[in-house]
Every structure is written in structure tokens, then in C-alpha cells.
Symmetry: D2
Subunit: 301 residues, 4 copies
């Protein structure tokens, strides 16, 4: 019997890095979680244990820290591109690099009505994400940037229905024309180019997602996702594609009739599990091919 | 050999309850996690298995839901008092009730510059907490309210020192006069009365905590906690006491010298574990006795 | 501008299901977490909000519970196949189903040296997993079964080296010929057929993974993964492929020299983050094509 | 207005420490999480910021690591006593020390039927715990040891009832004489002495807890806890007291009647929240006073 090592990659996950800018009295902060993965001709490391082509994951961690000083840490999409290009261009056995970054948000402390220069409060729960893939050299160079947001928790207390669905022998769900809809959106959007104002587009995309969730009369979470996604594509022409995964965080109307009360959508049990899970991939017609943009992992994703 | 059942209590933990107010087009939302615990003469339930004095935890859950409709859910301190008084007054074997509530914050979605009527985003990570204890009847009635906040994550990028400390044979830490200080505050404050504007005091206490963290030149997290606590007591005369627990979330300056860079407090490794843990209890002189206010549990806290 | 809905799926995630067999005095238990996802012509649900082809996720949950009674719950691979075939065959708009199941392990309580008939203790942390995909009808029918284990936490206190690696300007890691190696393996293996003794193969695969981790002199985690994977393929001819993801859970030797002690690999700091992350996909030569076996999600994996 | 600093303590939490014994080919492993807290005359650190009496938490961490080498790491109760005595005896401003330790279990890998010398698998989920308090000098010296276990997850599929309970206007729960009972026990036991075989007592206590859970016909979780606790006190005369906290991890019988199936306690929904929470403190008559044994925290527990 013989076997083949197919996809493989290795890297350093979750390097926690905080970058303070303190050149002026009003400091700035960037708080990120950096994961780097390298691809290339590393077969010998697996098959024979020869590590001569393997840049240690510890060096990748060091590189993230050093680059935050040498190159600065502004938009995470830019920082990811800088790191990825370095690994591909400067580390000989590396033919491709995948950089994934989470950014945690801080808001300035407000003291006596004024924003403080060097004190912040963590805010969220939503987390900005980026996934950068760089591969190839010269004409074969390909660069992909995926931006995103996760843990964007939204709830609307009306304006949501679910009716007219298929019924089979296991269906007991009643139809409803007024329910709470809540979700925790994970959205990832692929840019058609790397020449982008990352901060501005992030703001416009998330605003479009929220606005559509709020204003659309929802007939199902599926329909809501389609409209959220197309609204984001409408708002930012640089986007080629958006992918959305959204749990239906069920809020069940509690039956208060045994206690003599009506409950016209006022008191809810917020359930943990199970939950619906709805997914959609929406692509702009004519968008450039995704190539390896979505390839996160060597195997299990 | 013989044994005695000493402290005991039982209840329903983590009833997840969302209350929507929808009488006007502009809805309101309250999102809470309610834990109820009953104390009283429940020895038979333990010793002989006789449950005749035991109100099921399921009924406690039902009561929380029913009361959110019947009595409404405004400030969590009020809701806790209402529930606790009910259990003590209306359920015969119950001599004391402990209600703990967490409240999750939502901010209104902003659509085209205007706050939306019925759509919200979860915000945080800080969570408002309350712990209410009611016990006794008639003249023996005692009511305690503890308000609080947890997961209040704060960071300042300068204005923090740690020097002049005790050194023993296991001390290798260098002194510093400029470091990042970050923490995730858990604060609980005991009110001297139950006649309080709970919303207003919460705002003033948390503002005082944040202001003091921001503006005090910190010589240690211990000193910071003392000043945060006394600032809260200064701000709200109804407070009898405040207790603070704060991890020192270490941000270590990364040594970039091997890579030819200086690092004047610009690039940090945000560590997970271990972390310093600092605690303080600060009591207003002359404050009424705490009684059972702080007794959370029958045993293990 | 126009957009296309590409991949999409929806389902019910994390239906927590416990099945007790109590026909004999010696009961049996199966404790699982079931996630179902349906694929098919659901475009209208997204684009127009027409739900007439959408079987509610609530019905999918009901089906899981009902099938645990009607068809029984033995091996999770079998249960997943039964559910998936049902959705594809019996629910008209469904052309493909993906079922993912986690199984939690229980060991019988031992009382006075004997296994108890109806009491168990949870055991782990390792969790058995399965991912079943069924699609198409008639000759186009394809059925894929992926078994797996996650959270299989392994540690060896010697027999692990890391040396001879590539060094760049960001490399400070010293070489070592004796270190602790610890990991938390996620392994997923694809079967070439659905005619398998699922229980026996699970036992043999995990035994092979553990044995190889233990006995191989490791030159790197990459090499260890290759050998673990090929050992599993050796042990179970029905396997077409195995994919492994393994964090390098770093155990750093603590420098005790400031305190006058040597530390010859005896006292370690077990770090949380960052960690190395090594991935490998190993395919048996001549194995049948994976088709959609690995497609977990419509988008984000 | 004036305020008083009452209880206060500080320390280092969650020092993750792995100790390997490798003097013989068959290695041994101890994997612990150490939290140290110091009490004493630290008021100046809080009130004026003077740190001259404060041994840094970093030094406490170093001490834990150094002691694991210098003194070895056997039973966690012993290790905690050694650390606590050191802080009180050797660090002048320290008048009391509280050491809390969690121990994670590993089982040896079995390779071809034999236990491996230097490879282990993590096992659990139960975690052994210890909390040691040492305070005072000379005749005033007091030493308290609390052992424990947490995350001990138990389930019995019959032999559990809940009936004859109190009913009020919010009670809808039906009575049952046969249900699944599942819990995740947290138990802490106080020793009357520090002259104890810690390994042997741990084994006997946990065996007694499990046996009683399994064999008692349960009329309520309250009754089960009482019997578990007294069984532990019976089994180990050195115990003065035991405290138990146990969630009632509800397993609800799924109504399969809409699908034409009966469900005689065979198919269950394992719920996450809410859950019952039952607590009991059981003290051996004539046991020595607990003193500060249970004081975990300066405030919030």
C-alpha cells in the first residue's frame, strides 16, 4: 500500500498582539489575533522528518511582532498582505501564505464628556476578521483579501414571519406572521482587488448588513440573508462575493395561559440549542474567480 | 457517627428571559438571565426525600416568566425584589430568597442616521448584575440589594507604574514606571436602602469607575482599585460598600532587539494565563451591616 | 448589477439527543449532538421569500428524535446515513443532505468492583465525530461517510525533537533533541464504502493513532502526523483518506537558574496561545474520489 | 465621608504547571493549575500606592515553578501546604495564604496491551481540586485543607423520582416516578487534620459519591446529595465536612406522539439552560470549627 501527502500547511495560530501608537498624546490602539499558515514544498518535513525547509512557527510569531513595529499595524487587511507577501517572497520554500486576523474593538473612555487620550473600554461582541492569501511569484502572483465580521448579534422584535413552508409527517411547527428574529451573523466578503480603502468599506458593508436586517419585512432568515448580502454588494462595488452563515437564535413565546396571562409576543425564552443554521454564498455576476481565496485549511476547515 | 445538614438552598439557575415592550411603535427590550434560590425549612427533602415543602425549580422558572408579564421587567434590581418578596411572602416554607440577575445590553440599530424602532445590536462585553436577598417576615424582614457590573474590560496605554515592591529570592520582575494596564473588572456594590433610582445610580457608578481608572496615575492595580471603589462611593451616597475583583491582564513588551528594533512600549504580547488577581472590599464608615447580603450560596460560592 | 445565489444550505444545528436502551436491566446509552443540513432547489426561499419548498429546521429536529426511536441509534455513522437518506428520498425538494454528529462517551459507574446497570460517568475529553453526505437519486446516488475524533489530547514527555530547521532573520528558537510534545488531535477519515463495522474500525483507528504518537521518535509534529495518518490507513483498509489537524500545545521549560536550580525537562509552563498548528491530508493511492464528502458548509466552513 | 479597606488579598491566578518525573524509564506526570493569594498588612499598597510590602504576583508564579522542582509535586494538597507555609513563614508582610489548585488527569497510553512509559491521554472531565489556607504564626498557626472534585458528570437512566412536591399557582410540572437524573457535581470536603493520605482519601471519597448516586433510589436531587455527602463522611473519618453543589441537568422526554410513537423514557432532549441547582453543606457532629477554611476571596467569591 502506498499513500500520498496531499494538502498540507503549518503555521502559528493565535498570536495575540496589541499595538499602541504613542507618538502623540492621543494614543491609538490596535488589538489583534494573528494566525499565519505557510504552504510550499514541505513534504520532507512530513515524510522523512527533515526540517531544513521549515521556518519554525516561533519565527512566524516573531515576524508578526516585528512587523507590527517595522511596518506598523493599520488595517488588518493591509497587515495581512504585508505578512503574506513577506513569507512568500523572502522565505524560499514558501509558495503560499494564508494569514487570518481577528481584530477586537475598543472605544475610548469618556471622562467628563470628553474622549480620553490613552484609556479604552473593550466593545463588541462583533469582531472584525480578515483572511489574506498570497501565492505565486512574478506573473503567477495571486493575492486574495477576504474581509469579514463575526459575532454580529442582531435582534428584531417584529417584522419577521415564517409561514407557507413545506410540511411533512414530522412537522409540528405552527406558522407565524410576527416573531422575534435574532441571529449572530458571520459574514465574509471577498474583494475583487487589493486596492481598497479597508476602513471605509468595512463601515459601509456592516452598515448595509444592519440596515437590511432592520428594514426588510422578513419572510424567512434565508430571504433576509439574501437581501443583506446583496445590500453589501450594492454598497461596495469592490466586493466580488459575500458569504453569510447565520444561526436562527430561537426566541420562543412562553405560554402564560396556565397562569392566566396572555402573551402577545412580550415574554420569550431565549434558547441555546438547537438552532437553525442558514447559509448563503452570493456572487456578483462577472466577478473574478475566487481561486484559493476561500481555502482556509489543508483539510478540515 | 451523626451529621448535620447546615446551609442548604435550591433553585433554578439561568432562566433566559427576553421581555419586549411593544405598546408603542418604538419597542423596548430587556434581556436577562435569572437565577432564583430558595432558603427555608427544606431539611426533609434532603434527609427523608419528602418533597412536600419543595416548590419545584420548574415553578420558579414559570414565576420568572409570568412576573415579567404581570409585573413588568424594568430595572433588574426591582425585578429581583419583586420575585424575592413573592417567594418569601407567598410560598409558605420559604424563609429567604436569593435572586441573581444578569442583564445583557442592546443598542439600537442606526439606519440612515436614525435609531431603529425595533432592531438592536448586542453590545458589551460588560454585563450588569444584581443580587437580591429577602428574608424574614414582619419586623424581621430584611432586604438587601447588590448591584454590579462584570466583564468591564479596561486598558490604559500609559499612566501606570509598578516599582518599589518587595523582592525575595524568587523575584525577577524588573520595575517599571510606564506600562500597559488592562483588566476586566468585576464590581459589586451594596446599597444601604432599596429606595434607589437603579438606572441613574448604575450610570453614575460605572462612570466613576471608568473615570478613576483613566485619570489616576496608577502605582499598582491595588491602588487603582481603592480609588475606583472610593470614587463610586463618593458618587452615590446610597452605596454602603463596594467589592472589586480585577485580574491584571498582562501585556508584555515584546523584545524586538534580536530583529534590530527598539520597542518603547509599542508592541505587546497579550497573555492569557497566569494573571495577577487583586481584590478589595471597601466599606463606607457607618454603613449598615451587610447581614446576609453577600451570601450567594449554601456552600461553595 | 446582478448577483447569483451560489452554494446555499440550511438546517438544524446541535440537536442534543440522548437515547436510552432499557429493554434489559443493563441499560445502554447513546449521547449525541446532531446537526442536519439540507441542499436542493431552495432559491425561492432566499430570493422571493417563498418557503413552499422549505422543510422547517424544527421538523428536522423532530425527525432526529423520532428516528432515534423508530430506527434506533447505534453507530453514529449508521444513524447519519439513515437520516440523510430519509431527507433525500422522502422530502421532495431535497437533493442532498449533510449530517454531522458528535458522540459523547460515558463509562459505567463501578460500584464495589462491578459495572452498574444504569449509572454512568461522562468520559473524555475526546469526542467521536461523523459527517455523512448523501446526494442524488438512482444511479446518481452518492453516499459519503467521514468518521473522526476530536479533542484527543496526547502528551509525551520524551521522544520528541525539533532541530535542523530553516533559520531566517526572525528566528530565535533554539534547537532541541528532547522536548515535551503535546497536542489535541482532530482527525477525520473518509471511508471508501458504507459497508463498514463502524465500532470496530473506530477502535482500531484511534488505537493506531495513539500507538504511533507514542512510539515514533518524533522529529517534528509534521512527521508525527504523517506517521499517525498512515498507521490508521494501514490498520483499516476501508479508509480512503485521513485528514489531521493538530496544535502544538507548547510546554516551555521554565528557567529556574535564577533560583539556583537546574531544570532538565522536569518543570514546564503549559502555554495557551499562540500555538503551532500543523495540518495534513493523506490519501491512499487509488482511493475513490472524495466528491462532496468534505463539503461541510455552503460557504464559510 | 470616610471609607475603610476591609478584606483584601492579591495573588497570581492560573499558573499552568506540568511536572514530569523522569528519573526512571517509566515517567510520571502531574498537571496542575495553581492560584496563590496572599493576605496581610497590604493597606499601603491600596491607600497610598506604596508597594514596599507587596511581593509581586510574578514572584509567586516563580515560586510555584521553583517549588515544583525543589520540593517536588506529589499530592496537590501537600504542594499547596508547602507553598502556603512558605509565603506565611518566609515573606514578612504575609499573615495568611490561600492556595487553590486544580489537577488535570492523564491516563497512560496503552500500546499493544501495555501501558506506555512516557505517553499519556488526557482524561476527565472530572478535575481534582484543593484549597489550602495557612495563617498565623506559632501557637496561632492554623492550617486548613479542602479537597474536592468538580465536573464529575453523572447520569442514571432510572431509579430517580420527583413527586409529592409543593404546588402553587405557577406549578405545571407533572410528577414522575421514573426519570433520567444527570448532574455535574462540585464537591468540596474539609479535612479535620493535615495528616492525611491524600491519594487514598480522594479515591475513597469519589468512590463513595459515585456509589451512592448509583444505588440510592432518588426521590429528589436534594436527597441524593445528602446521601452522597454522608457516604463520603462515612468513608473517610478524617473529613469534618462536605459541601455539594449540583445542577439538575434536565433530560426531557420528547413527545413522539405526533409521529405515532410512544416514548417510554427512551429518547430525551438534553437541555442546556435553565437548570435546577441544589446545594448542601453537611457537617460531622463535633467536627472542628471551619475557621477561614472556606474563605476563598476577599469579596466576591
Amino acid at each position: 500500500m502506498s499513500y500520498t501527502l496531499q494538502d498540507h500547511q503549518y503555521g502559528k495560530a493565535e498570536t495575540r498582539l496589541v499595538r499602541i501608537y504613542r507618538d502623540a498624546p492621543r494614543h491609538e490602539i490596535r488589538d489583534v489575533n494573528v494566525t499565519t499558515a505557510l504552504r510550499g514544498s514541505f513534504e520532507d518535513a512530513y515524510l522523512t522528518g527533515d526540517q531544513s525547509k521549515v521556518l519554525p512557527t516561533d519565527s512566524q510569531k516573531n515576524t508578526a511582532y516585528a512587523f507590527a513595529k517595522e511596518h506598523g499595524l493599520g488595517s488588518i487587511e493591509d497587515f495581512g498582505l504585508t505578512l503574506a507577501r513577506h513569507f512568500v517572497d523572502d522565505v524560499e520554500p514558501v509558495s503560499g501564505a494564508r494569514i487570518e486576523i481577528e481584530e477586537f474593538s475598543w472605544r475610548r473612555a469618556v471622562v467628563d464628556g470628553a474622549e480620553h487620550d490613552h484609556t479604552w473600554l473593550r466593545t463588541g461582541p462583533e469582531i472584525r476578521t480578515a483572511a489574506i492569501t498570497v501565492e505565486g511569484e512574478g506573473d503567477a502572483r495571486r493575492e486574495h483579501v477576504i474581509g469579514g465580521v463575526k459575532d454580529l448579534v442582531l435582534l428584531k422584535s417584529t417584522g419577521s414571519e415564517f409561514a407557507g413552508f413545506l410540511k411533512d409527517g414530522y412537522t409540528t411547527l405552527p406558522e407565524t406572521h410576527d416573531r422575534v428574529m435574532a441571529t449572530s451573523v458571520v459574514a465574509k466578503w471577498r474583494f475583487a482587488t487589493v486596492d481598497v480603502d479597508w476602513e471605509d468599506t468595512y463601515t459601509r458593508i456592516t452598515a448595509a448588513l444592519v440596515k437590511e436586517f432592520a428594514t426588510l419585512q422578513s419572510l424567512a432568515l434565508q430571504q433576509t440573508l439574501w437581501h443583506m448580502g446583496t445590500a453589501a454588494l450594492d454598497a461596495v462595488p469592490e466586493l466580488a462575493e459575500i458569504r453569510l452563515v447565520a444561526p436562527n437564535k430561537h426566541h420562543f413565546v412562553v405560554d402564560l395561559s396556565p397562569f392566566g396571562s396572555e402573551n402577545p409576543n412580550e415574554v420569550f425564552f431565549a434558547a441555546d440549542r438547537p438552532y437553525g443554521l442558514i447559509e448563503a454564498t452570493i456572487v456578483r455576476d462577472g466577478a473574478p474567480d475566487a481561486g484559493s481565496a476561500w481555502r482556509a485549511s489543508a483539510g478540515l476547515a
